[in-house]
């Protein structure tokens, strides 16, 4: 007897979220009417049909390990060992190693990071690698097969198939960097409410009750003015603010922090259904969406079409029904930028 959770699928906002949770249900195995595992979409027999595409993943995708556990993938960009991957998954992990085909590389450097796209450029000392071929088609139609990295062994890459499932578009969201405070508006003034532990605001000495007067030398009257200033900023950037505490005007330099390091977003019911999702899954200027059943630990690798060309770089497992990839043309530009940054 197996207990499982079932959710109804109408989407309900707000307070209903918790109440709509689990319903226990006895599932009785009934033979003969259930498709055996190997023949399901993600089964080994179906995967076998993708063999030519799998071979591309074998040579041109990288597996990223931290403490001997794979935590993501990468796209091989050059014969001499440049690799693109999802930046926020690499961040904070010291001593990562990489496998390409059946070779292991332990000397991995982070060359440069594009915070806006959440892409990092890595380098290993290698030669003769087979770079990913990036698709030059401007668009990929809904319903087209796409192939991602699936569970991997030390020597053999596997495929995870899916299809393009929605329109390419920008994914909005709140600013990705924060001061680490809750702002209140009192008597038309912006007052610091709570100051989060582990935030740049705390480190700079900002206190609850301080009144925000200026940021970067400009007078701040509306909350939105401050939010605007944070756009395009990366973690580690400095924001100079002037606050009023009692009678005194103080000038503080606040180091900005990535939002997900400071604030935990509340879990929606759809998140509960999805299992662990990518920490960073919003704020992308353009993504293509596919239905591949990935996980937060399978991002960063190339998204291939049936010809074995990369149409995107997997960048977020957003929910059990939605995976995002950065489109090929953008990836090519990001790579050029990061290479340039790396040479500076």
């Amino acid at each position: 007897m197996e207990k499982s959770k079932h959710w109804r699928l109408n989407w309900v906002s707000g307070r209903a979220v918790i109440a709509l949770g689990a319903l226990a249900l006895v599932v009785l195995p009934l033979s003969g009417q259930s498709l055996e595992g190997p023949y399901r979409l993600n089964g080994s027999q179906v995967q076998a049909a993708f063999e030519p595409v799998r071979q591309v993943l074998q040579t041109s995708s990288a597996v990223l390990y931290f403490e001997r556990t794979p935590f993501g993938f990468g796209a091989v960009m050059s014969a001499d060992g440049y690799i693109l991957t999802k930046a926020s998954e690499v961040e904070g992990k010291k001593g990562i190693s990489i496998r390409i085909d059946d070779k292991e590389y332990t000397d991995v450097t982070v060359v440069a990071t594009d915070f806006e796209w959440d892409v990092a450029l890595l380098k290993v000392a290698a030669e003769g690698l087979v770079p990913v071929r990036w698709s030059e088609k401007p668009e990929i139609a809904h319903g087209s097969w796409v192939v991602s990295n699936g569970a991997t062994s030390r020597t053999r890459r596997r495929v995870r198939p899916g299809i393009i499932s929605a329109n390419a578009r920008a994914i909005g969201g709140e600013s990705q960097v924060v001061l680490g405070v809750v702002l209140k508006v009192e008597e038309e003034r912006i007052v610091i409410g709570e100051v989060a532990e582990e935030s740049g605001a705390k480190a700079a000495g900002l206190e609850a009750g301080d009144i925000l007067l200026k940021a970067e030398g400009k007078e701040i009257k509306e909350r939105d003015e401050l939010v605007k200033m944070l756009e395009g900023k990366a973690p580690g950037d400095i924001l100079a603010v002037t606050v009023l505490r009692g009678e005194a005007e103080l000038e503080l330099e606040i180091k900005l922090t990535a939002r997900n390091k400071v604030f935990q977003a509340p879990m929606s019911r759809n998140d509960q259904m999805s299992g662990p999702v990518s920490q960073r899954r919003t704020n992308f200027a353009r993504v293509i969406q596919h239905d591949t059943m990935l996980s937060e630990r399978s991002e960063g690798g190339p998204l291939l079409d049936l010809d074995g060309r990369a149409v995107g770089l997997n960048i977020a497992y957003a929910s059990r029904a939605e995976s995002f990839a950065i489109p090929a043309d953008e990836v090519v530009n990001i790579y050029a930028d990061l290479l340039g940054k790396g040479r500076e």
């Binding site: 499982s4 959770k5 079932h6 959710w7 109804r8 699928l9 109408n10 989407w11 309900v12 906002s13 707000g14 307070r15 209903a16 109440a19 709509l20 949770g21 319903l23 226990a24 249900l25 006895v26 599932v27 009785l28 009934l30 009417q33 259930s34 498709l35 190997p38 023949y39 399901r40 979409l41 993600n42 179906v46 076998a48 049909a49 993708f50 030519p52 139609a141 809904h142 319903g143 087209s144 097969w145 299809i163 499932s165 929605a166 329109n167 578009r169 920008a170 929606s268 019911r269 759809n270 259904m273 299992g275 969406q289 239905d291 059943m293 049936l306 929910s319 059990r320 029904a321 939605e322």
Partner: protein, 436 residues
């Protein structure tokens, strides 16, 4: 509203029951599916698995050939505070969805096409036990629609695709498509590995010919458990649903319970016949349709209302969520308004009311306020020591006992009108009673 509609009222016991019902019915239904469908089956469906890129491309081509029209016919459903999906199955706008999305019979909802067009629709019938529901787009027109797999040709292992507005309607994103296989087939549930999520409920599952084979209902915690109601379940109950019947019992929809309905007006017998509105409570269905003091209700649905009692006894037969048509006279003109009844607030419990004063008997009638407690309902409206209470509502108060006895009959949250004498002048204070 939406919260209670989709609420978790059904316990696990019911779910177990539903499931077992399915098990019992299984053997009887083994025969289904061998029926004579002459249409040629897609060869990839008869392979245990696609063998090569050519087979995969065949699946892709078939999917892409039917996808545009399937997308056109798929709608988002705005529940006001929640969202689901549905699919149009006739040119004049008949929509299939899930019972837990439609939430009841004869309700007004809005459907949204992929291009952003929003159109009103009315729910018809539903099957509460299996999660089927039907709706009709209210505006006349020619709508894009899909065909049903009427001869029940779908088989275990067939390639299928699901559409829906995952997480709610998003015009930029459009309808979301997912591909998979039928991984389990039972009489009232089919399962696929097309990943569903909240918002997809009520959306369509298609075979690669673009025929509708199921409607999304629920998911399991394992990502491979995506459950759909098979179209045959709809066909079985088609006429009943079309006629607006509420078929079967829970867990996917609850029948309105007579006596739970709430309109939100206080009425009295009108002189010329009918029920005259004397008070409209804020935030109630009556306030929502802008019913006004002075309106005279003369008819509800097709029933003539001669006075207050007629209205009350008619409404007592109704349940929360049901819709009524109210005919009123306003300024000599007759008007009819459609109202969706709300849920009756809990009845005040006698003897729980609290006013917050101490009173004494007094010569010459009435009771004198001897003390007013701080932060009590009495203090809030400004009742003072020395005030003489002579009447509560329309009842004369002559002694302390009258006063106590009257309040004994009241419950927390009820409102009373207290008439007092202060400095020789009569005043009436409206007080909402607190809890003792």
């Amino acid at each position: 509203m939406a919260a209670s509609k989709a609420g978790p009222r059904c316990g696990s016991a019911r779910w177990g029951g539903v499931w077992l019902l399915v098990v019992a019915g299984w053997f009887a239904l083994l025969g289904v599916g061998f029926g004579g469908d002459k249409e040629e089956r897609l060869y990839v469906n008869d392979k245990k698995a696609p063998e090569n890129l050519k087979d995969l491309l065949k699946i892709q081509q078939e999917l892409q050939a039917v996808l545009p029209m399937a997308r056109e016919a798929t709608v988002g459903i705005d529940l006001g505070g929640g969202a689901g999906s549905g699919v149009v199955v006739s040119e004049d706008g008949l929509v299939l969805t899930a019972a837990h999305v439609s939430g009841g019979v004869d309700k007004e909802l809005t459907v949204i096409f992929e291009d952003g067009r929003r159109i009103k629709a009315r729910t018809l019938g539903l099957v509460a036990s299996t999660d089927c529901a039907m709706m009709q787009i209210s505006e006349e027109g020619k709508y894009p629609f899909v065909d049903l797999d009427r001869s029940d040709t779908a088989r275990l292992g067939d390639w299928v695709f699901s559409l829906g507005h995952s997480g709610g309607f998003d015009e930029e994103r459009g309808v979301v498509v997912r591909l998979g296989r039928l991984v389990q087939v039972k009489d009232s549930t089919i399962q696929s590995d097309c990943n569903l999520i909240g918002g997809d409920s009520g959306g369509p599952l298609f075979d690669l010919k673009g025929h509708l084979i199921g409607i999304h209902s629920r998911v399991g915690i394992s990502k491979e458990q995506n459950m759909h109601v098979p179209v045959r379940e709809f066909l079985k109950n088609w006429e009943g649903m079309k006629a607006g019947e509420f078929i079967g019992e829970g867990p996917f929809a609850q029948k309105p319970v007579a006596g739970t309905a709430f309109l939100g007006v206080e009425v009295k017998d009108a002189e010329e016949g009918g029920a005259e509105v004397v008070r409209v409570e804020e935030g109630t269905p009556a306030a929502g349709v802008e019913m006004k003091v002075g309106d005279v209700i003369t008819k509800v649905d097709e029933v003539e209302i001669k006075g207050k009692d007629d209205l009350i006894s008619y409404l007592l037969e109704k349940g929360a969520g049901e819709r009524i048509k109210v005919t009123i006279l306003r300024g000599g003109e007759e008007q009819t308004m459609a109202v969706e009844l709300g849920e009756r607030p809990p009845e005040p419990v006698k003897g729980t009311a609290f006013l917050g004063v101490k009173v004494e008997d007094r010569e010459g009638g009435g009771v004198e306020v001897a003390r007013v407690g701080e932060e009590t309902p009495a203090a809030e409206v400004g009742l003072k020591v020395g005030d003489v209470v002579i009447k509560i509502d329309e009842v004369e108060i002559k002694t302390k006992d009258d006063f106590t006895a009257y309040l004994q009959e009241k419950g927390a949250g009820e409102k009373i009108a207290v008439t007092i004498l202060r400095d020789g002048e009569e005043q009436t204070l409206e007080i909402e009673l607190g809890e003792r």
